[in-house]
Amino acid sequence: MITFTNVSKVYPNGTKALNDVNINIEKGEFVFIVGASGAGKSTFLKLIMKEEEPSSGFITVNETNITKMKRRKVPYLRRTMGIVFQDFRLIDKMSVFDNVAFAMRVIGAKPKAVKKRVNYILGLVGLKEKAHCRPAELSGGEQQRVSLARALVNNPSIIIADEPTGNIDPEMSFEIIELLNEINKQGTTIIVVTHEHDLVQKFKNRVIEIQGGEVISDSGTVEEKAEVPIEISEKELLEMHSDDENITDYDENEIPSSRKIVTEVFVDGEAGEE
């Protein structure tokens, strides 16, 4: 799904952020990237999103060499990814609903499809009741779930999260990673950058450690961890690889049955909390 081959990154000011990195992340994996501040973790993610270009080596995403990708194709690459930031990056003046809808609207989704899909996703992250709140009225954990909902709304095949738990308290952090784990079980590839070792240890996921721009350890692909078998419908596979803009026509019926399980899990989860 994602491969780095002899990738180095030197920023224009001379900072060597990554040095000869080789990584292979399989489809459906959940990977933690750990390392001290300044190790090069964010640079690693930016290279995947094509926000930065490698100085040498090459990167493939979905079997496509993105190093050679034309500029005008980059937006379509990004539509296959959902991105979650440490600082949530929510738009203050928009409601929770509109923040999530924004991601669909700006890739040209039709209003009807937006309404349906956003409500569904907000249910998935347990924020249906907060749809009309402003981000400022939510806790950090809730804000990060909005951010996650936004990342999920366009049905990406990869979720990339840069220190998603950096600004929220430990209990909420656990919840966010748990949520990501559930999403992972449906077949979405997940890459989470974090420097919280506690959190990493609680989950039996693959861990790649970066130090001074180099991979210093890699626990390797975790073979069997899911209680729920990963099953992806043919339709979903097609959607993940489709390069066109027709993710706009979501319909409740089109959501793979495996995703519906997640809805139930979280609707239950919400109920249990109260």
Binding site: K46, M49, E51, E52, R72, P75, Y76, L77, R78, R79, M81, I83, R89, I91, F102, A103, R105, V106, I107, G108, A109, R150, N154, E245
Partner: protein
């Protein structure tokens, strides 16, 4: 086009959200359009006056006293017509002239008819192009038998010079003000982009195409241009009436009625405004589209 309704709404919203800057750009653009409009209207009117003055103010070419009708018609007339820039050349005999004088001034000249007629034979000559007035007059003077030429078209000549000046100054004004307007609009859109850089960075990270990021800002520019063009269209109508009555107070002129110009003027203002708006916006957008993630946010 996908989501054009959404994009248009966004573009219009940001005109309102940035109303201070929008008002400033509209103010400047309206002023530019008005100055341009006044120059154009002035030039059109001068051209019209020159046209009328030129038409009914043909020059009179008086012949030497000893030239008789036959010589004038058979020899001098054709020679004048052969010259460049002659629109018409009609014989005006001294007997015709004295009759006209009499009809206007009474029988005072009664005894001056026939052999006693002191007036010379003449030609009424009209020119094709008044800007070549001097050369043409010089050429006519060189024709054998021509005595003096009445200089009644001087006004038209001056007006033609004025018209050329107005056109030249107008062209410079349009260019200079066009550049200023572009600068102002592009600045206004740049402010919007700056205030929305956060949204732009999110749009890019979720995979919005450049076209999609760009469109609301182009629409903002176009809307600013449209509003300015509309306002300028209304103001110019009043301004024109005021200008005309001010000029009429000093010199009696017959102006072009505004109703004859209104449609073209408004259409030009609006289209010109919209084009300036769109180009102004595009100037600002390029920079943002080439940036990524944190760069957009200035981190």
């Amino acid at each position: 086009m996908i989501g054009l309704g959404y994009l248009t709404k966004e573009g219009i919203k940001s005109v309102w959200n940035n109303r201070m800057m929008s008002a400033a750009s509209i103010g400047v653009l309206v002023s530019c359009l008005l100055i341009t409009g006044v120059a154009v209207l002035l030039s059109l009117n001068v051209a019209r006056i020159v046209d009328t003055v030129g038409k009914d103010n043909q020059i009179t070419v008086f012949l030497k006293e000893n030239i008789d009708d036959v010589t004038a018609i058979q020899k001098i007339g054709p020679e004048i017509r052969k010259l460049d820039n002659i629109a018409s050349c009609e014989f005006y005999s001294k007997s015709e002239a004295i009759v006209k004088w009499e009809s206007e001034l009474g029988s005072l000249f009664g005894e001056l008819q026939g052999e006693e007629n002191p007036l010379p034979n003449a030609f009424h000559v009209a020119m094709v192009d008044l800007s070549q007035y001097d050369d043409t007059v010089e050429n006519i003077k060189n024709v054998e038998g021509v005595d003096i030429i009445s200089d009644r078209s001087d006004v038209a000549k001056r007006l033609t010079e004025l018209n050329i000046l107005v056109t030249k100054v107008g062209a410079w004004l349009v260019t200079a003000l066009g550049i200023i307007s572009l600068f102002i609009i592009s600045n206004s859109v740049r402010m919007t982009m700056y205030s929305r850089r956060f949204e732009i960075s999110i749009m890019k990270s979720v995979g919005a195409t450049n076209h999609f990021v760009r469109t609301p800002f182009v629409i903002e520019g176009i809307v600013l241009g449209l509003i300015s063009g509309g306002i300028a269209s209304v103001i110019i109508a009043f301004l024109y009436e005021a200008m005309v009555s001010a000029v009429k107070y000093i010199v009696p002129i017959k102006e072009i009625p505004y109703s004859e110009l209104a449609f073209q003027m408004s259409a030009t203002f609006i289209i010109f405004g919209m084009i300036i708006g769109a180009i102004g916006a595009l100037i600002s957008i390029g920079r943002y589209l080439n940036m990524e993630g944190g760069e957009i946010l200035g981190w």
